[in-house]
Symmetry: C2
Subunit: 237 residues, 2 copies
DNA sequence: ACCTGAACACCGTTCAAGT
DNA sequence: ACCTGAACACCGTTCAAGT
């Protein structure tokens, strides 16, 4: 704490191994790294960095610094930054437990979908990554579970396909919208939006009077309410 | 066509106005620009660039090149690249006409929502921008219309709030998912996904047999089908 | 096998200066 | 008012080289 020097071996000015023997560091040479770099550690650090710094402020260089390695070292474990983002997103989705396969369809769906949204909102940058192909093992496992529940509930064919899309769209859309507001950390932002819409009340007669700007109900409550109704729709009684 | 030289005035080597008078360009000096830069032109060019180059490959420098100006010139009209993206997204949404305010609720909703999705899919990079606060005038006008229709259909209070979110989420989610696939231009990509899931059929027993990987139904059909059902749900008969 | 160091080819943005 | 040119402080990524 009292020592502000970086912990990495300090580079001697102009040195290149040509230092006098007696002046060189003696004793057991310091281990190259305390903890070796692994893909797992990189992903964890990336998520931490994303949580801290926000969505597009993640940098391979800053990430490397957090891991106490060179930025170029990361490329031994990961092909590209985009790949890393895909891995981070799938990792976040993996935080949602998949319910037992013999769950009651409705209860099972309620659990995965609520959990999925919760996991993404816990990392508000993650919905912003939904535009990329979601084919990670964790995402696929949860998609598999969702379809399995729908099949067990009696759906098949087009109905099954449409229901899967409706549910996925519902979660994705809700998470994106909610995450947008949570990321808008500017404390006065909501107030500003409110004022902006109320100022143009002639343009937005409904929005300005419907409670849309008042946040009278919580994101969570509205999500659960909407989800229950959608489940009513999709699952034959 | 036969002249490969750039059309901008070529910079004389080492010149600084110190050229001999008689060797200077004579005649009417060329007009500074054929068409002056405006915010409107910048947005249009940005959309063209995004359509051509894809989502995150838009560069202020390449955009400037397309407009035959310096990249720094753009900053006189636009504060930041992010602002420009917000403007582009709102512009795209503006391509959807807002139906007449006295539309039948169900018909009106069907029209805006289908149009909204169509406009975004026409610019497959646009759903990727949905993570940013959508408060442009075009977006707000369409949100206003949606709520107006719901109110006319008899909704209010929590029901209205939940219905608005469900509809918005439905369109956003569907557009994002569909756009992802359309952007995945790799022609063999779908085949690869298919193979990947079928290879791990033990992990994905439902996905591999439900038609999920077969694209048996078109995006458009499934969207319309899902939308009708959601409208059934939300609009009291 | 795993990591460093130097280097390449870019970025977005600022700012003084020109017209 | 509107645009250019030069410059700053970064980026992601490649590649030879070290251990």
């Amino acid at each position: 704490m009292s020592d502000e020097q970086p912990r990495t071996r300090t580079k001697q000015a102009g040195a290149g191994g040509s230092e006098v023997l007696w002046l060189r560091d003696t004793g057991p040479r310091p281990p190259r790294r305390n903890t070796p770099l692994t893909l797992e550690r990189i992903i964890t650090a990336a998520i931490a960095e994303l949580d801290a710094a926000g969505a597009e402020r993640l940098t391979m260089r800053k990430l490397a610094e957090r891991l106490e390695v060179t930025s170029t070292a990361l490329y031994w474990h990961v092909a590209t930054k985009e790949d890393l983002l895909d891995l981070a997103l799938d990792h976040v989705v993996g935080e949602v437990p998949v319910p037992a396969p013999d769950s009651q369809p409705r209860a099972g769906l309620r659990t995965v979908l609520t959990g999925w949204r919760a996991a993404m909102l816990a990392h508000p940058w993650s919905p912003g990554l939904l535009g990329r192909p979601m084919l990670g093992p964790n995402v696929l496992a949860r998609t598999e579970f969702i379809q399995a529940m729908l099949v067990r509930a009696g759906l098949s064919g087009v109905d099954l396909a449409a229901a899967t899309r409706t549910l996925a769209g519902f979660v994705i859309g809700a998470s994106m919208a909610d995450a947008t507001w949570r990321r808008l950390d500017d404390p006065g932002a909501i107030a500003k939006v409110r004022a902006h819409i109320l100022d143009a009340a002639e343009l937005y007669p409904t929005l300005s009077t419907s409670g849309f700007v008042d946040a009278a109900w919580s994101d969570d409550d509205l999500f659960v309410l909407g989800l229950e109704r959608v489940l009513d729709l999709l699952l034959p009684a």
